[in-house]
């Protein structure tokens, strides 16, 4: 049996996650994402959280939905914050204050704004310095907490409050950054993309990450009901379509080796995913734009197929 295997039964028995009463929107997938991350850990965890939806909805004083030690400091510094905690842990071990065999998994949660944009420098620095932590990017592709503003994770064409689809401009004009590749380019020991729809794949990745020493990064897609514009019961379906259309491929880069962890039996056209969401509504009759989006998805997917099994560093 694989080292990082965990049965569904055991996982559901652990069931460590946000306590009921948090204020996340109905249908928001990040409570499930948090539950998967916390339940997947065999060791105690310490969590640092960047400012954003997850932080504000889970810790409204005097309540907290977190059953584990949790700290929020600011928006752009979650990687530096967890780096400081992890450093203290190391020095306490070195100085005999904490027993050498004590194990804690250090986890940082950040939204796409906290990761692709304002916190990229701190994240890059923490990775370069080699701190031992797992960074979970929950990617809802915009600044949702402040009311759906574009981020550099927002896909081309998406309507947001700062890239509005207008009479002249069809939503965001730029492509999203490929954060997974940016983090991989650091030589990060473990980098992966995951989706809550493919939860077993996600959990395996989390567990694999915990086994690896040094910085680890998992980008997990986190569809947003109000931000993307779909019904509350569709988050997982939307996430799944992002994978099945290859807009959001599931893969990992372990010590430099690419591996596609899921290949759709039949790659669906990206239009199916776009049509489901209000934020792309204005594109539906713009065939040339949809073709452009499809072309980019195809190129990236082709690239990944070529890289599958190859070592890049």
């Amino acid at each position: 049996m694989k080292k990082n295997f965990i049965s569904l039964k055991e996982l559901s028995e652990r069931n460590i996650g946000l306590a009921p009463g948090h204020r996340a929107c109905a249908g928001c997938p990040f409570p499930s994402i948090v539950r998967m991350v916390l339940s997947a850990s065999d060791n105690p965890v310490v969590v640092a959280n960047a400012t954003g939806c997850l932080e504000v909805t889970s810790t409204i004083f005097p309540y907290s939905a977190w059953p584990v030690p949790w700290i929020h400091s600011a928006f752009e510094n979650v990687a530096a914050t967890i780096a400081g905690i992890e450093t203290a842990f190391r020095v306490f071990k070195k100085r005999g204050i904490i027993p050498e065999n004590k194990k804690i998994n250090f986890i940082a949660f950040g939204g796409d704004g906290a990761t692709y944009d304002i916190g990229l420098q701190a994240l890059s620095g923490a990775i370069e310095r080699g701190h031992n932590f797992l960074y979970i990017l929950y990617d809802n592709q915009a600044y949702m907490n402040t009311g759906i503003q574009r981020s550099s994770a927002t896909p081309f064409g998406a309507n947001t409050t700062t890239s509005p689809a207008g009479k002249v401009i069809p939503g965001k004009l730029q492509d999203r950054k490929d954060i997974t590749e940016i983090i991989a380019a650091h030589g990060t020991p473990y980098v992966a993309q995951a989706s809550p729809s493919h939860f077993y794949d996600f959990i395996s990745k989390i567990r694999k990450a915990f086994e690896i020493k040094g910085p680890k990064f998992i980008a997990v897609l986190s569809p947003c009901v109000p931000g993307w514009g779909y019904r509350e019961n569709e988050s997982i379906e939307i996430a799944k379509l992002a994978v099945e259309t290859c807009f959001w491929p599931l893969y990992e880069i372990e010590h430099g080796v690419y591996k596609l962890t899921y290949k759709p039996a039949k790659k669906l056209p990206v239009r199916i995913w776009l049509e489901k969401q209000e934020r792309f509504k204005h594109l539906i009759n713009r065939e040339e734009l949809i073709t452009e989006i499809q072309k980019k998805v195809d190129e990236k997917w082709e690239r990944l197929l070529n890289l599958d099994g190859k070592k890049i560093f």
Binding site: V46, W70, N77, A80, G84, I85, A88, I104
Partner: protein, 395 residues
């Protein structure tokens, strides 16, 4: 009275700070280089490389991350130190408030330097004054010897008060000035600072807590009220720790203010940091020609010793206040504004004359100090000046 022969070392302000840090041997130092405090980071990383300390040194990618790492490590219960100046302190600004509000006793050495623009690497207090409302304690040192001892005292003060503390000195003037520093033994330092006993730890996985929650209109105000109470309490802690240090090692360091020739003085000048040294010399010389002037040097600017200043300054006819920073409010320098506010409740109060000097490292010469003293003396005699005077400037 010295209780024993202390080892004397010729050290610059930066070296003195780094040497104190070495003897403290903190758990974590996270820092980023910036003139004029870069040397502290360099010297300390050499201590780490040579195994003279077993601190974890985190060479971060910015000052924002330096303070963020300090916050994370301090919230984990570690004893944490850093150093910065100027733009670095400004870049940390957001995190300063978080450090103090999470009640984390981080100690930071600051080599005070002007803020851009225009870019300038030399001494003034613009950087420090930008963080004066951040909830940090701020202790300003006159010379390298005081820097060394204040760094050691600051650790204990911060950890007793559960508030962060800056130890500040003038860029280049003090950071790079070499002077005899009377040092303690490593063991004495260790025994004085003892171990940190944290209020809480984010590493406590057995009894998990949530730190830095969203705090809205129904609690935030009470939390801020509590924080200011902690700052009030810190005043007592500062006095106690400085007294303990002085008694233990035979020093006479001031806790809040140092008085120089004030006993029989009729007029007074208030200053901070290295300018006090120049003023002391000028006072000695001016006293020879019969001007009865004294000096009050403010050592601890935060928390602000308004009670002491109100008491000590009330007897003077005229008081000059030296500000090495502008507020750009048109009301004068920050120190003068606060001193005026401190004296406001008095029925009879001295005339306060504000002097702004030394911005961007402009030399504050003995002649400038004479000039200041003469103006204060003239005010005593009834002469009137502009509310704010700029000293040592081409106008």
């Amino acid at each position: 009275m010295k209780l024993k022969n202390l080892k004397k070392l010729a050290l610059t302000g930066n070296e003195a700070a780094a040497y104190a840090m070495k003897q403290i041997n903190p758990d974590v130092v996270a820092a980023y280089p910036i003139t004029p405090s870069t040397e502290i980071v360099q010297i300390f990383s050499k201590y780490v490389a040579d195994g003279e300390v077993d601190t974890e040194f985190v060479p971060v990618e910015s000052e924002h991350s330096a303070m963020s790492v300090c916050i994370g490590a301090s919230a984990a219960g570690a004893r944490v130190m850093t150093a910065t100046a100027s733009q670095g302190l400004a870049l940390m600004h957001e995190m300063l408030y978080i450090a103090s509000s999470l009640r984390l006793p981080i100690v930071m050495v600051v080599g005070n330097r002007a803020l851009s623009a225009p870019i300038n690497i030399h001494a003034d207090h613009s950087d420090a004054m930008g963080s004066r409302d951040s909830g940090w304690m701020q202790m300003f040192c006159e010379n390298p010897n005081e820097v060394y001892h204040t760094v050691i005292m600051a650790v204990k003060i911060a950890e007793k008060a559960n508030l962060p503390c800056m130890v500040e000195m003038d860029g280049f003037i003090t950071t790079h000035e070499m002077e005899m520093v009377e040092t303690l033994d490593d063991k004495e330092v260790q025994e004085f600072v003892k171990k940190r006993i944290p209020l809480y730890s984010v590493l406590n996985v057995e009894e998990p807590i949530t730190i830095g929650a969203l705090d809205l209109f129904d609690y935030y105000f009470e939390h801020k009220r509590g924080q200011v109470e902690a700052v009030f309490k810190a005043k007592k802690i500062i006095s106690e720790v400085v007294k303990e240090y002085n008694t233990k090692f035979g020093f006479n360091f001031p806790d809040f203010v140092e008085e120089y020739e004030t006993e029989d003085a009729e007029i007074c000048v208030v200053a901070m940091s290295s300018a006090a040294g120049t003023l002391k010399e000028a006072i000695d010389l001016k006293r020879e020609s019969g001007i009865k002037i004294g000096l009050i040097r403010i050592k601890t600017f935060r928390p602000f010793p308004y009670e002491i200043l109100r008491e000590r300054l009330r007897k003077f006819k005229a008081v000059g206040v030296m500000d090495r920073a502008e507020t750009m409010s048109t009301l004068g320098g920050p120190l003068s504004i606060e001193i005026k506010a401190s004296l406001y409740p008095l029925d009879k109060k001295p005339v306060i004359q504000n002097f702004i000097f030394g911005l961007g490292g402009r030399e504050f010469s003995l002649e400038d100090a004479f000039h200041v003293i003469e103006i204060i003396e003239n005010i005593k005699k009834g002469k009137k000046y502009d509310d704010v005077l700029y000293i040592g400037i081409r106008e």
